[in-house]
Structure formats: structure tokens, C-alpha cells
């Protein structure tokens, strides 16, 4: 019986470990993807589409067809799911000349944009071109400072600390963003208000990127809520990010499920074989029970009660051990810094699975024990 308990403990430990790690991965991955960047784009409704940004067509950049008003930023914060909104980063895009060379000007709120694009590698030290800001989201930027895309910086031959001129205004290059393979590479990023002045579009925005904490929210609902508040815009969910997150987590969850099913099957087999062995070993004992008046159901009850006790012990120990193992192996398995939560429902689930498997696997041995012929069992009489 000791080995049976150990077997149950190992089985439940494995399941609890995998399940807990999967659950924590879901939470952590959700958080990570939410941190990575926008999962919604808000662009004006327009008939003509001329430029694109991030693969999404942006209207009116060249032709000034339609714009979004700055008040839209505040309106986004008034939707029903407003607590799910993490970062709102408005942008104004326009073509300008920097040191007499053509460039795409992207007016941004530095704080919000850098919070959203925290994977950007920004070199701020001309003497150490391979060293990047450890936490770009913490950078404090003045409105007289700009960031340059890598291509533009090369074209202008400008390094961090030097100055560039837009018209008659000069700006300090605070940093150069390492090549992203996107529009930013040939852009100059400057303060939104400054950009509005230079482009002569006061209070106007070309697009808004929104990052929502979508681990807990349905993104489609947020899209609908924003569309309602901003009827003059198109709100697009950047589904790829959401889908990618789901795919990664789902793949691990399926793997964990498959392993758990195999473990459960093996566990059931171990319980079954042990209980059958126990019944065979105790033939004479069962014969005694039957001859002193125990009914078949009484004998079956003894076997099932034993299985239940073993299962409960295995379930509780397996849960506790599983949590310990999950806590110590999660960073290795998931390659993430995971927090393993102690949850009552996982404990109850572990106990439930353990008892159900233990009892189901013991039904046939119990039946075999119950139908033992007492005269056969006590052949010595």
C-alpha cells in the first residue's frame, strides 16, 4: 500500500506541476504580450489610403484627408473596460526635411510610446554604440530632444548628443534606435506637441496605438467599446499578437494535457494492479469476512474505502509536492520567471482527480473481491 501511495503521489505531483506551470505561463505570457506593444490601432475613417505604418494603412498622411482630434485620447479612457487599458500612445505622422533630407516625422508622447515599445534598443551614448538603454520605458525625454531611426541617423551622420535642424529649430539627438526593420528606421521621433506645431496641424493626430491588458479581457469587446466612443475612426485589433500568445500557451497546455492523460492512465493501471494484487493476497481474509456474515457489498466497500484513503493521501501529498516542484522547476521548464499561486481549486482538483482515478481503478478489484466464493476462499475448512 505504501508503494501505491507513492505512485499516486508521483502521478498527482506531475499533474499539479504541469497544470500549475501552464496556468502561470498563461498569466505571465498574457502579461508579457500585453507589455510587448499595441494590440489595437485607431485610425481615421478615410477613402484614400496612402501611407502605412506597422503594416496597417494610415490615411491622410500625405493628403490631410481626415485627422483624429486630441480629445479622442481622453475618450478612450472612458470606455466600460477602461481598467484594461494599459497604454494609449497617440501619433502624428508627416513628411519633413531634417538637415535638408526627407524623413518621416513621428510625433509621439515619449513616455507612453516608450512604455509601449519597451523592446526598442536605444543607444544614448555615442562613445559606446553597442550599449543600449537598459529600460527605455524609464527614459525622461525633453521636448527639445528627438530619437532617430538607425537609417536616418546614418543618412544624417548623427550620433547621440549631436543636434539636428528641422526648419529653423534645432533638436538634440537623445538616442538612436537600433534597426527595427520598420518605418521607424527612417524616421525622426519628436514630441507630439512639437510635431503638431512643425507640421502645422494643431491638436491633430494621425493614429493611436492602444495596449490593453488582455489577459483578463475580451479584446473584441474593447474594440467595440472604443468604436462606439470614436465613431469617426476605424479601430483595428492587432490579432496576430493575441493569436500568437494563444498559440504558444495552447501548445504548452495541450502538451501538459497529453502528459497528464498518460500519467493518469499509468496511475490508474498502478492502482488497478496493486488493488488486484491486494485482493489476491487477501483471499483468505475476504473468505473470513464473508463467512462471518459480510455481504458482497460490505467486502466491496472495504476495498473501495482503502482505495479512497490511499487516493486522499496521494492527492493531498501530491498537491503539496507538486506545488514545491512547480515552484522550483517552473523557471527551467517555462524559461520564465513565474509566480506559482497556491489555489484552493487546484488543490480540490488534485484531490478530486486522485479519488476518482483511485476509485475507478478499484471498481473491478472490489467486484472480484466481492464475488469470491467463501468456501473457495476458505478451502481449508
Amino acid at each position: 500500500m505504501l508503494f501505491l501511495v507513492i505512485g499516486m503521489v508521483i502521478g498527482i505531483t506531475t499533474i499539479v506541476t504541469l497544470f500549475t506551470i501552464t496556468k502561470s505561463m498563461k498569466i505571465e505570457l498574457g502579461n508579457k504580450f500585453d507589455q510587448i506593444g499595441a494590440n489595437m490601432l485607431i485610425i481615421p475613417k478615410a477613402d484614400k489610403l496612402t501611407l502605412s505604418y506597422g503594416g496597417v494603412p494610415v490615411s491622410g498622411v500625405s493628403f490631410d484627408v481626415k485627422k483624429i482630434d486630441s480629445s479622442a485620447i481622453d475618450k478612450i479612457r472612458t470606455i466600460k473596460n477602461k481598467e484594461n487599458i494599459a497604454v494609449v500612445s497617440p501619433k502624428l505622422l508627416g513628411g519633413i526635411k531634417v538637415n535638408e533630407k526627407n524623413a518621416l516625422a513621428i510625433g509621439i508622447q515619449f513616455k507612453n510610446e516608450l512604455r509601449m515599445k519597451r523592446w526598442w534598443k536605444i543607444n544614448t551614448d555615442a562613445g559606446k554604440p553597442e550599449q543600449f538603454e537598459a529600460k527605455p520605458q524609464r527614459m525622461e525625454m525633453k521636448n527639445t530632444e528627438v530619437l532617430l531611426g538607425s537609417e536616418l541617423a546614418a543618412k544624417l551622420d548623427k550620433k547621440p548628443g549631436e543636434t539636428v535642424n528641422i526648419g529653423d529649430q534645432s533638436f538634440t539627438v537623445r538616442g538612436v534606435i537600433q534597426s527595427l526593420g520598420s518605418e521607424e528606421d527612417n524616421s525622426i521621433l519628436l514630441d507630439l506637441t512639437v510635431a503638431q506645431e512643425i507640421l502645422n496641424r494643431p491638436n491633430m493626430i494621425s493614429m493611436i496605438e492602444v495596449s490593453a491588458l488582455c489577459n483578463t479581457c475580451p479584446i473584441e469587446e474593447i474594440v467595440a467599446q472604443i468604436s462606439e466612443k470614436l465613431p469617426q475612426t476605424n479601430v483595428l485589433a492587432v490579432k496576430e499578437a493575441v493569436e500568437a500568445r494563444k498559440a504558444v500557451v495552447d501548445r504548452f497546455a495541450n502538451f501538459a494535457l497529453a502528459i497528464s492523460v498518460v500519467v493518469l492512465l499509468i496511475g490508474s493501471l498502478v492502482v488497478f494492479l496493486t488493488m488486484m494484487g491486494s485482493v489476491n493476497e487477501r483471499t483468505r481474509e475476504i473468505g473470513i469476512f464473508r463467512s462471518i456474515g459480510f455481504r458482497k457489498v460490505d467486502v466491496a466497500q472495504i476495498i473501495l474505502t482503502e482505495a479512497a484513503v490511499v487516493s486522499i493521501l496521494g492527492g493531498i501529498s501530491g498537491y503539496l509536492l507538486g506545488m514545491v516542484v512547480a515552484g522550483s522547476t517552473a523557471p527551467l521548464i517555462a524559461q520564465m520567471d513565474l509566480t506559482i499561486p497556491w489555489e484552493l481549486n487546484i488543490a480540490a482538483g488534485a484531490l478530486g482527480i486522485s479519488v476518482i482515478v483511485g476509485l475507478l481503478a478499484s471498481v473491478f478489484p472490489a467486484y472480484q473481491a466481492a464475488k469470491l466464493d467463501p468456501s473457495e476462499a476458505l478451502r481449508f475448512i
Binding site: 462471518i292 456474515g293 481449508f380
Partner: protein, 231 residues
Amino acid sequence: MNIIEVRNVTKTYDGGEGLVTALGGVNLKVEEGEFLALVGPSGSGKSTLLSILGAINPPTNGEVIIDDINIYELSSERRADFRSEYLGFVFQQFQLIPYLTAIENVMLPLAITNRSTTEQREMAKAVLEKVGLGNKCERLPNQLSGGEQERVAIARAIVNHPPILFADEPTGALDTKTGQEIMDLFKTLNKEGQTIIMVTHNMDCLSYTGRAVFIRDGLLEKTEEYRKKVI
């Protein structure tokens, strides 16, 4: 009044090389309060007869009537209830459950009744005191001598106050002195009115009984009376 009546009971087994007749038409009556010995050599059929009387081995033919109940007409589960209510067994080699204490072994037959655990424990304690083991209730079987284990087995068999007590070679595993003590205990129980049917091949035990039925080759050979039944 007859408490047991065996009518034309036969028992045949499939012994692999054809049918083997264990009992070949047995008729027997046992009166209430009687102390009966079933005597015979190995393979004579005495243990088969005991198991048929004990409601655990249906005969091939014939009837067994106990207290006006034709026991093999009962369903298997009703027969289990019958055993619980009417019969006590003292098995060969004691057959105590090794992981249960003496008192827990004695409580076993009560576990399937509606009595509370406290009541079961009190009854078991009283009967252990009766067999002289009141101070060894909490011992495991391997902490008891052979004679003491036999007493626990007897206590387990009578704790439910069954009308009939079966004993299979009760002195077989004991030395002469301890065997006599156990037979004295059976005699005392019989004097109190307990019907006892005992299988034995130990002739020394027969003087404690009222009657001995000798069995050979599955047939009743002869009957010897030693004393009148007590009640």
C-alpha cells in the same frame, strides 16, 4: 428440538479426472444446546460437511434446515445475513486479521450490524473478559500466544450471540495443556446453552462433547454418545 436437520446431502467435486464424491448422502439431526463432534480422518468429508452446515458451501443435492430455514434456498446475500445472525466460526489456525488488535478482531462481526462503535467495543470487551483476555484487548495477534489467539477467535465467534458455533480443529495448533483449556472453555459455553459443532480428529477432545459422529469416505459411519446434552 432439532436446530439443524441435514437431509440426504451429497457433495461432488470436479476433481479434474472425473467427479469426486466428498459426501455421499448424509442425514443428521442436531438438537439445540448439543455439543457435537464430527470425527474422521483427513479427506473423510468432515470439513466439507462443516462448510455445508455453515451456509458457505451449497450441497450438490439435499437440504439443510436450520431453525426451520432451508438455508440453501436463500439468496447469496440473504445467506450472508443468515451467517451473521445464526452462526459463529472458529477457524483452523485461528485466522485472526493480523493488522487488527484483539478487540478489533472481536468487533469484526459487529461491524456490519447497526450497533454504535462504543456499543461494539463494550460487547467485544465483555466477551474478551469472558474468555480470560480482558487485559490483552489492545494487543495484535502476533503479540499473543497460540492459546490466547484461539481465545480471541472464540470471542469473535460468540460476540454476536449466535445460536450455533462451529469450530474446525480448534486444538490442532495447540499443545495438550492449552488444548484442554480451550476444550474447557467450549464446555463452559455449552453448559451456558451454546450449540457447538466441532470438527476434530483428536480423540482426547471427544470426552468434552455430548456426541461424536464418525465420518469415513463421505458417509456417516457411526455415532457415539458420551453424555446427555446439558439443557
